[in-house]
């Protein structure tokens, strides 16, 4: 009963129990911190071009180029248990093949822009470190948006009822991952705003432009 091994087992067992209880308490403390993010998303410019996914591809696909402006205040998402916040803007559009049944929840959705915010002081995207800032600037201007790249129908032009939405995913140091809430939950509010007006993609742009964009 009082051998070294038994004592060692007891100490280790107690240690793991304490660890798990502390971790559970930290995870539960997330619920106490209010989350009141707000954002505005506005579409600036729309284009649809034809191009190839890679040099050797023989199939042409349609690419949507969506320029938008985003202004968001996510500072309330940062608590002591926030490891990072993954912020992303998605474009979603109803499934044309389903007709009326395609409206509502059954939509196609593609992330067109994303960024990772790890630093609590970077919640306004102004106080980012040099490496993160470089990555953000590149992601904001370089990655022309191509939700069609892998769209099964490879067609996007004149898609109607498209909408841009801001989402976030809070990654904790320990505990449950949380996404943009669909319902208000305690002190966690929905994103105030964060949805653009619905818009329709234009017809395909002249070929000259397509080549320039894919160069």
């Amino acid at each position: 009963m009082h051998s070294t091994i038994v004592r060692g087992q007891n100490v280790f067992g107690f240690f793991t129990t304490v660890c798990f209880v502390v971790a559970a308490l930290i995870a539960a403390s997330d619920l106490l911190a209010p989350r009141t993010p707000k954002a505005t998303v506005a579409v600036k410019d729309l284009q649809v071009v034809r191009g190839r996914p890679h040099y050797y591809s023989t199939k042409k696909e349609e690419y949507a180029i969506i320029r938008f402006s985003l202004s968001a205040d996510l500072s309330s998402l940062f608590s002591w248990n926030t490891k990072q916040v993954f912020v992303y803007v998605s474009a979603s559009w109803p499934n044309a093949t389903l007709g009326d049944a395609g409206k509502g929840e059954m939509v196609n959705e593609a992330v067109i822009w994303d960024t990772i915010i790890t630093n609590p002081s970077a919640d306004h995207l102004q106080n980012l470190g040099p490496a993160a800032m470089k990555k953000l600037v590149r992601s904001a201007k370089g990655k022309t948006i191509d939700p069609s790249r892998s769209h099964p129908r490879r067609k996007l032009a004149e898609t109607d009822n498209m909408v841009l939405k801001l989402h976030y995913n809070v990654q904790p140091w320990v505990g449950l991952l949380t996404w943009t809430p669909q319902i208000e939950f305690g002190s966690w509010k929905k994103v105030k705003g964060g949805i653009s007006k619905t818009f329709k993609l234009p017809a395909i742009k002249a070929k000259k432009v397509a080549e320039k964009k894919n160069a």
């Binding site: 992303y88 389903l98 593609a110 994303d114 990772i116 892998s150 769209h151 099964p152 449950l176």
Partner: protein, 180 residues
């Protein structure tokens, strides 16, 4: 008759078996707990250990992820764990494109298609999919990441990659159960 204990072979076998019972009990309890978790989360692998840095800084090597597989459709931004048939390890990457095709379709593989990308990777995962594949279907997703525990997975990685740790633990466990 008192005091005349005969050590017949059958009695000795019975003694050994009785001593081994706690060890067998511990093993079967663990197994049952695992299978119970599988049923509860509807996932064949309810707990996975991260082995690559492709989702850094969200998940690092050695972190433990808890999965949940009871939502019928994956949303963009969620992190599905995909395990292709024949691959030695699962892939934990974020879903960036989701196409809901026909939810009433009989074949679950043609209800929803998705494309994934690691947060720390520059490009989408299409080259990592089995040859010729452009999408993942819902039935290849073994679960969505819902819970996160840092560092604990190093025990598993240690067990798998440092061989002598495994033997040491086995010897220690048998010593404790049979002798201690």
């Amino acid at each position: 008759m008192k005091g005349t204990v005969t050590h017949s072979p059958s009695l000795r076998l019975r003694c050994t078996l009785t001593k081994a019972l706690p060890a067998i009990l511990a093993l079967s309890t663990t197994f049952m707990a695992w299978k119970g978790l599988c049923i509860f989360t509807a996932s064949p692998n309810p707990v996975v250990v991260v082995v690559s840095e492709s989702m850094a800084p969200a998940f690092h090597r050695g972190d433990i992820l808890l999965l949940w597989n009871r939502s019928s459709c994956v949303q963009v931004g969620e992190v599905p764990v995909v395990w292709f048939a024949g691959n030695p390890l699962p892939m934990v990457h974020r879903a960036v494109k989701v196409f809901n095709l026909d939810c009433s379709h009989d074949d679950p593989s043609s209800r929803q298609l998705m494309v994934t990308k690691g947060d720390n990777n520059e490009f989408e995962d299409i080259p990592l999919y089995p040859a010729g594949r452009q999408f993942i279907s819902r039935d290849e997703v073994k679960g969505l990441v819902t819970g996160y525990l840092p560092f604990l997975g190093w025990m598993v990685i240690g067990l798998q990659e440092v061989v002598w740790v495994k033997y040491l633990l086995f010897v220690f466990a048998s010593y404790v159960t049979l002798v201690g």
